[in-house]
């Protein structure tokens, strides 16, 4: 079953604005990862945040994690047209030594120039 659920499902903003996407999950996790996917291509790893971390930055990206609420957010500041993509959160599903990721449904971000 789906572990993560992103909202909104779709987001349209103007270039230069900030974009915030949220992710909720159901069970305990070791870490949460955010990925970007352009036009049905492969996934690009953006950032990993561990369960004992609350906030992490990478360039224009800021990720927060609230394990008490089982939620995470991805903030993209000063968005650019090139940020147009689908964004997925994924959580590890620790099971018998395997750690395949379970993905949310994704947020489709459109940045309008």
């Amino acid at each position: 079953s789906q572990q993560g659920e992103e909202d909104p499902q779709a987001l349209s903003i103007q270039e230069g604005e900030n974009a915030t996407m949220n992710c909720s999950y159901k069970t305990s996790i070791n870490n949460l990862q955010w990925y970007r996917q352009n036009s049905g291509r492969g996934l690009v790893h953006l950032i990993l945040i561990r369960s004992n971390e609350r906030e992490k930055h990478s360039g224009r990206l800021r990720v927060t994690l609230d394990t008490s609420k089982k939620s995470s957010s991805l903030l993209i500041t000063a968005s650019r047209a090139a940020d147009t993509a689908s964004y997925f959160c994924a959580t590890d599903a620790w099971r018998s030594g395997n750690t395949p990721l379970v993905f949310g449904k994704g947020t489709r971000l459109s940045v309008i120039a």
Binding site: Q2, N30, N31, Q33, Y35, G40, R41, G42, L43, H45, L48, R50, F88, A90, D92, N98, T99, P100, L101, V102, F103, G104, K105, G106
Partner: protein, 114 residues
């Protein structure tokens, strides 16, 4: 990090035929994962492939439909058998995730079944 390549990058197939997708990693890895992404949907794990053992399939996926090979620590194949239009998806292989580390994905194989 890991560099992953997949072949073919895309294909158009007739129903009833089979397609084998190859995944090559630039380093030795214990586990490789195969995902499916149906149009407009998220990624769903098909199976986990360990070298030297049978693949472990997720609920809803069976070996007869998606046979997997894992002949060594850098290579795996996924076959989509007896294809139907419902199999039209992007298929992605992935490695990593051990110890809660980053998981990396190949570029995907876009399959269209007519």
């Amino acid at each position: 990090s890991a560099v992953i390549s997949q072949k073919p990058s895309r294909d158009i197939c007739q129903r009833g035929t089979s397609l084998t997708i190859q995944c090559q990693v630039d380093s030795q890895v214990t586990m490789m994962f195969w995902y499916r992404q149906q149009p407009g949907q998220s990624l769903t794990l098909i199976a986990t492939a360990n070298q030297g053992s049978e693949a472990t399939y997720e609920s809803g996926f069976v070996i007869d439909k998606f046979p997997i090979s894992r002949p060594n620590l850098t290579f795996s194949t996924l076959t989509v058998s007896n294809m139907s239009p419902e199999d039209s998806s992007i298929y992605l292989c992935s490695v990593g995730g051990a110890g809660g580390e980053t998981q990396y994905f190949g570029p995907g194989t876009r399959l269209l079944v007519l």
